[in-house]
Symmetry: D2
Subunit: 112 residues, 4 copies
């Protein structure tokens, strides 16, 4: 079944509607900023809205990150328990690669 | 004339089209993120796009800030030269209030 | 043996010297900033040094975070393989708590 | 007199003691972190202290920035009022260069 496989791969399916709702609000904020520029509203008020939008994006990314990490850990634990991972050295390396990939994404979030 | 008055007040009219174009691209990025969630793309790839969108928002806000500061300084210098600002203590206070307002906005950008 | 237990708990012992060396450099940057203020160097140059010091702190924290996450995952996998974790629901909850704790720390890094 | 000239150039002399005090506290935080690593304290607790130290650095830099901007504006207004700046185009360019320099520093703060 496609959806099960997808959830297995990406781990955020169960909150998809929540994520889409958040992103639609963020899209609305981008349109609100265009209206403010169009109406030539006060620059500092526009900057305040940009900060609010940036915070909303960060909340979205931190929630996504948490689900991703939970999913990866659950996956690795499931494999370890079922004894699927007969080659422990290989599956340890997979785990380390996943952590490195997550930290690289976190670095981009911290720096952006 | 309304637009002249507005430019005088807010100082970014001459780049309005440029700002609107940037914000439309940012709105497009918000829609792109929705498509990625809809299609259940890989979480780390979505986070990379969030970082790109955050950077675009920051570039927009830093450009707006620079125009705002240039405008405020030009305004204050114009008043000082024309001798309009007969009450120097009062106009110095206005300048300090403008700086404090800008730094408060910068603080929100740094913290968000 | 104390050190083995500690490594088991905190997982960064093997890079302790590296971390201490980084932190000594950061302490040196804090002293360098005092010297710049003492000598009344140009404000913008001081701000540039503050940015460099902030980046060094972030690199330190991201490296620490990666080791922490690697350690937690290795620990959980070890328990799962050895069958120690007879109560799977309980150990899944521990894993989720560890992820939530890490994401809370990441949130503080992103926001600070 | 040296100190008057320096204040004129850099504008933060009157708060020098306050800045040095803040920086000494930040240096103390760097030493506190070394002690935490030395004692192998819990990684997440160390990350919390790094976030606190980063916030302290940002507060310092934002205060320095505000004083710098206040000083630059006061300087420019003084010159404009005294009619020193006979070449308005040149002094307008100086003002724009100062704003651009400040925004470049702010960009480094936002990105670091």
């Amino acid at each position: 079944m496609v959806s099960v496989v997808s959830e297995h791969q990406h781990g955020y399916l169960h909150r998809k509607d929540d994520h889409l709702e958040r992103l639609r609000r963020i899209e609305g904020q981008a349109r609100g900023l265009q209206r403010m520029v169009e109406e030539e509203q006060y620059c500092i008020d526009i900057l305040t809205q940009v900060s609010a939008m940036t915070s909303a994006l960060q909340s979205f990314s931190l929630q996504l990150l948490e689900e991703h990490m939970n999913h990866c850990v659950a996956d690795a634990l499931g494999a370890a328990r079922s004894g699927e991972a007969s080659d422990q050295a290989a599956s340890d390396q997979v785990a380390r690669d996943k952590v490195a990939e997550a930290v690289a994404a976190i670095t981009r979030l911290v720096r952006s």
